[in-house]
Structure formats: structure tokens, C-alpha cells
């Protein structure tokens, strides 16, 4: 139980934060980990703040804990407008990191974070998805950023694995596979750490 | 199968299932009767109106003719006497 990495996702209903959380669970599972991926449920409302969670452990029987995560190692913020209304760094480990979908630099974002001392990362997931997928669906780039920063999964294995499952899912639409893979790689590359 | 009100709990069928059809025949409701329909074959025109009116299906019909009331099941309600236009059925205390 000691080697479990805990991740908290913040997003808005309809943006795909839950999907990204489940995709991370999937990817971690595929690389041999014990996983949990679950949303905090309530009445479902488009645009309302939501949270989703991952627990990822090396082998063994995994975590038996069934509660939300209050002291995460990493926090992923899919929508930066949440920084104003939600205390996204609450309980976040100072040895961990927060990853925010933003055009701003980590230094600028840090000013909005109520004194968080740990690592702050930003990636412009909106523009990346616009460029690679033609739409603003930030969850794919944010997933890649979460892998890049947290190291919960080997990066190359993650990319190979994502390619495999995308090819399976979009067998008749190779351009979608291509776009998503570019989104993942761009996000990992453009991630700013501060 | 002989299940009755003296049967022990383990002698009943599982789920109170009943394996015989038409067990209602064993309940002789004729015992409830205080007045009895008396059928006068001479006056009867065999119109058979009494037959569908009998709530206990106690008036047997054979080859288009009604027979004597089956007193095993007749509760003596008197509906047959009421609907008979020919006075062929009278209710009597026997």
C-alpha cells in the first residue's frame, strides 16, 4: 500500500476529465500496474466542477482503500478557470506536482495557487488539441502531460500502448489515430515545468 | 398428494406449489347453502338462461339440455330462480 501513487483530476462536466482518468487507469493497467480510476459522482451537470481520481500501484494486490483522494501526489487541472473557484492544491503533496491546462507560464499560474510550494507545470492542451484534432478536447494532451510528469508509466510503453488501442478503436479512421498520437507527443514536448 | 390443515410444515410443497389441476373441485361449497333451487323439468323450456347466470357453474348441460343442479357446489344464491322466465326454478328451504 505504501507505493501507491494518487492522482486527482479537476475538470468541468462534459470536458472529459473522467474519461482521461479512466484512460490513465487503462494505460497503467496495460503496463502491469494495479489501478483504480473513479469519478466523484453527483447529479451530472455540464460545466459544473467535477473531480476524478486514480490510485496506481506497482504489482501486489493494489490499494484496498475506497475513498476519495485528499492528499494526492499529483493534481491535473483540465480547465484553468477552475483555479478561481476550486482549491485545486488542497492536500497536494509538496513533493508532487500540479499540471494545469494553460497558455500561461508555470510562474504565472503559481500566483493563483494559494502558496503551493511544489512543482507547477503547464501545457496548452487547448491549442494542441485544436491543432492536432481540429477541436478543443483537452483531455488527451492532459493525459500525456500526467504521464510525463508523474512517471507512473514508462513513457515509450504508454505511447506504444495508446497507439495500439487507438488503432483498435478507430480502425476505419486512421487520421484520428494520427491526430491523437501527435497530440500526446506534442503535449509531452511542450510541457513547461516551473 | 394429500395436503390438509393438519399437514406439518415439512409436508407442504416447497413454495406452496400445487401439482394437481382443478383442486377447487374438492371444496364442496354446497355446504354453505341454506336455500335450495328446485327444478321443475315440466315447466322448463330449455332456454338455458340460468346456465350462464349461475356464479358457481353448478348447472350442467348435456346435448343442449340443462340437467339437475349440482348441489355439491350450488350455494343457493337464487339467481337462477330470479332469471327463469317460466317459473321452472323455485327456492325452497329443505
Amino acid at each position: 500500500m505504501g507505493n501507491t501513487v494518487e492522482i486527482r483530476w479537476h475538470g468541468r462536466g462534459g470536458q472529459g476529465a473522467k474519461t482521461a482518468c479512466l484512460l490513465l487507469a487503462d494505460a497503467a493497467f496495460n503496463s502491469g500496474k494495479q489501478v483504480q480510476g473513479f469519478p466523484e459522482y453527483g447529479p451530472e451537470r455540464m460545466g459544473a466542477p467535477i473531480t476524478a481520481y486514480n490510485r496506481i500501484s506497482e504489482g501486489g494486490s493494489g490499494s484496498s482503500v475506497h475513498s476519495n483522494i485528499y492528499n494526492p501526489d499529483f493534481v491535473v487541472v483540465v480547465d484553468e478557470t477552475l483555479l478561481k473557484s476550486v482549491d485545486v492544491t488542497a492536500g497536494l503533496s509538496e513533493n508532487g506536482a500540479i499540471i494545469v491546462n494553460s497558455r500561461k507560464s508555470p510562474q504565472e499560474v503559481r500566483r493563483q495557487l494559494r502558496g503551493y510550494k511544489g512543482k507547477v507545470c503547464t501545457v496548452d492542451a487547448g491549442s494542441i488539441s485544436q491543432e492536432t484534432l481540429g477541436r478543443n478536447i483537452p483531455n488527451t494532451p492532459m493525459l500525456a502531460a500526467a504521464v510525463e510528469v508523474s512517471h507512473v508509466i514508462d513513457k515509450d510503453r504508454f505511447l506504444a500502448d495508446m497507439e495500439g488501442s487507438l488503432r483498435h478503436k478507430f480502425a476505419s479512421k486512421p487520421q484520428v489515430v494520427e491526430g491523437n498520437m501527435r497530440a500526446l507527443r506534442m503535449s509531452m514536448k511542450q510541457l513547461k515545468v516551473g | 398428494m394429500n395436503i390438509n390443515e393438519q399437514s406439518k410444515w415439512y409436508e407442504l410443497t416447497t413454495g406452496a406449489e400445487i401439482f394437481e389441476p382443478a383442486t377447487s373441485r374438492e371444496v364442496k361449497t354446497g355446504e354453505w347453502r341454506t336455500r335450495t333451487p328446485v327444478f321443475d323439468k315440466e315447466k322448463c323450456k330449455q332456454c338455458l338462461l340460468c346456465v350462464p347466470f349461475c356464479p358457481d357453474v353448478s348447472i350442467p348441460v348435456e346435448r343442449g339440455e340443462r340437467l339437475e343442479t349440482n348441489l355439491d357446489y350450488c350455494k343457493g344464491c337464487g339467481i337462477c330462480a330470479k332469471v327463469c322466465s317460466f317459473g321452472a326454478i323455485t327456492m325452497e328451504e329443505l
Binding site: M1, L22, A25, D26, F29, Q34, V35, Q36, G37, F38, P39, Y41, G42, P43, G62, S63, S64, V65, H66, S67, N68, Y70 | E5, S7, K8, W9, Y10, L12, T14, G15, A16, E17, I18, F19, E20, P21, T23
Partner: protein, 398 residues
Amino acid sequence: MRDRMSGNEAVAFAMKQIDPDVMGAFPITPSTEIPQYFSKYIADGEVHTEFVAVESEHSAMSTCIGASAAGARAITATSSAGLAYMWELLYVAASSRLPIVMAVVNRALTGPININNDHSDSMGCRDSGWIQIYAENNQEVYDNYIQAMPVAEHCRLPIMICQDGFITSHAVENIELLEDEQVRSFVGEYDPEHYLLKKDEPLAVGPYGISPYYMEIKKGQAEAMKESRTRIYEVAEAFAKISGRSYGMIEEYMMDDADFAVVLIGSSAGTAKAAAHGLREAGIKAGVIKVRVFRPFPWEELRKALRGVKAVAVMDKSEGFSGWGGPLFAETRAALYDLEESARPLLQSLVYGLGGRDVTVSTFEAIYEDLARTAEAGTVEHIYRHVGVRGDEEGIQG
């Protein structure tokens, strides 16, 4: 097969592997995904099940009763108000001794209106004559579902396979699945002795039970429920042989030498185990008892497991409004009545987790600390308490 899926998908997957004859269901959160996944299996031709889309849960259970009486293997899934709407039919299914298998995804029974997890729905119908088995995680709900039919059909009792709404139903976790053939041969073909469609044996089901028969029929149900314990163990033993995973009426975690224990049902047992594990490293002898089977009630197992423990919190995820504690507490306390006084633990009732209120490792740490204080004091100050209620001075905060 190593895989990962949510608790709802795990149940639907088990259903697919079993391929039952009839499913009557009406969707309700958080169980909706079960008929949803299963409908896809039907549409894809992976099962031969007849899906009866009904207009209410009352009709869903009626469908199952009709199908089961006719000789079919009948299943359904529901939650909360849906289960409540089945209420009168639950009793009809049980007294007609129809081995219907129902997946219950536990959710608070309104009100105020709430869609999150607690056990008030299935606890409310605990006395309806259904076997009730609860799961801690998706693995257990899958395993319990596969054991359900061999238990229910042998005992001729209907069975509820329960899991915690959202907490496990919507959480993706690792799972070990059995091969289809393993499941099919374990569950076997359904071959009832009597059924309505048996043409050589006319049959009436669900007769009026007048007073001279009614109690004898209820006694039959009561005896079947008592005996089902043996079958539950037999099936669990056979299941362990094919899966390597063992189950009983209860699960004891670090109970051998425990001074302090919590007794509870469902997903929070996993959280309690993590807390107990941590406290053991600090030298505190904490243990956990997870009640897997609530009906029939595991009174012998609990009496044995709790003998000599110093202080125990029996935790209910449903209110009893008895003014004295929840249903698990009341029955656990009754089970300990026959212990000699020196072996009887100090016992208290903790009502927790209602309507989705989260329970964490630190909540359990606070509970164990409180148990240690109770043991030290040698007396239970407040028997009936709540966990994490704001402004509750008699309760436990944490």
C-alpha cells in the same frame, strides 16, 4: 484472465458468461449500466437471453417471477427506489421459493433525494426472505455473482448480489476473470424439478395462503434460509478450487489477536483494512471483520470472531431509527448475548457513510483511537453514535 473494469461491468460480464434465460429490468442509477452493458451483449448475439424491457421495477420483478416459475433462469438489476418499488414482489418471489438472482447496486433510499451510496435500500428489505451477499470491490461482486445461482437454485431462495453504488460500481479496478467455460461448468445448466411449462405436470404457483397454511409456509422459508449457510460454504469451497479465491460468511482481517475491531459491510472494509494495517505497524492491535453474507446472518461466525476482543464498533451504512443503533449492530449485539461476560466485547453502534458521505483511512484511525479509549475506560459511554456529523458531540469526527 487479467483485466480491468468497473463493478457494474464486472456484473454484466458475469451475466454474459452465465447466459441466463430471461432478464427483466428497468434502469435506475447507479445500476443502469448493468442492463445497458448486458443489452449490448444481447444485441451482439453473445447471449441468448430474452430481455424484457418493462415500464417499472414492479414489472421487472414480476417478469422475473413469471419467468422463474415457468422454469427459466431469471435475473434483474436495480438500486434504491427501484428496489423499493419491487417490495411486495420480493416477498412473492421468496415465498414462492423462486431462485431469482438480482444485482443490487446500493444507493441511499431517499430522502432527501440522493443518488449516492449507502445500504438503506437493501437493508430495508433484509427481512423479505432473500439471501444477501455484499462485496468489497469489483472482484468480489464478480465472484459473488458467479456463486449466486449455485446457491440460490440449490436452496430455492432468491438472492441479492450487492455492491456499493459508484464507489465500486463506477470505479475501474484490476480484476481476475474466469474463462467462459469455467463459469458455465461451475454454474451449470438450470434444471428445476417443477416448473409451469413442464407439460406433463400441471402446476399452480403462488396460491392464497390461508391462516392454517401460512405459518407452515413461512417456517419452510425460515428453515431454507438457515440451511443455506451450508450451501454458501460448499459453493465457496468449490469456487476457491477454480479461482484460488476463498470466501465465507464473514472475512476476518488481522483478527487473530485483535484488541479493537470494526465490523462492517462493503467497500469501506477495504479502507478499514488499510487503516488497521497502518496501526499494526504502530503496535496497535486493530482488526476488521467484513460481513459478506448478511442473510442468513452470520451470528456463529461473529460470535467466534469477536470473542475476547476488547472494544468493537459495529458500523452501519444505513439508519435504523431504532433510537439504539443500526441493523448490523442490533444483530451483532444479539449474536454476542450468549458469550460469557468476560469474553463479551465493549460494543457500540456507528452509523456512517450515509448518502455518499466519504469515509477515509483517517476516519478509521479516529474510530480505532476511540475504541482504545473505550477499552481503557472499560465502559461504553455512548452506544449509538454517528460518524462525521457536523456539530455532533457524541459522534466521531475524522
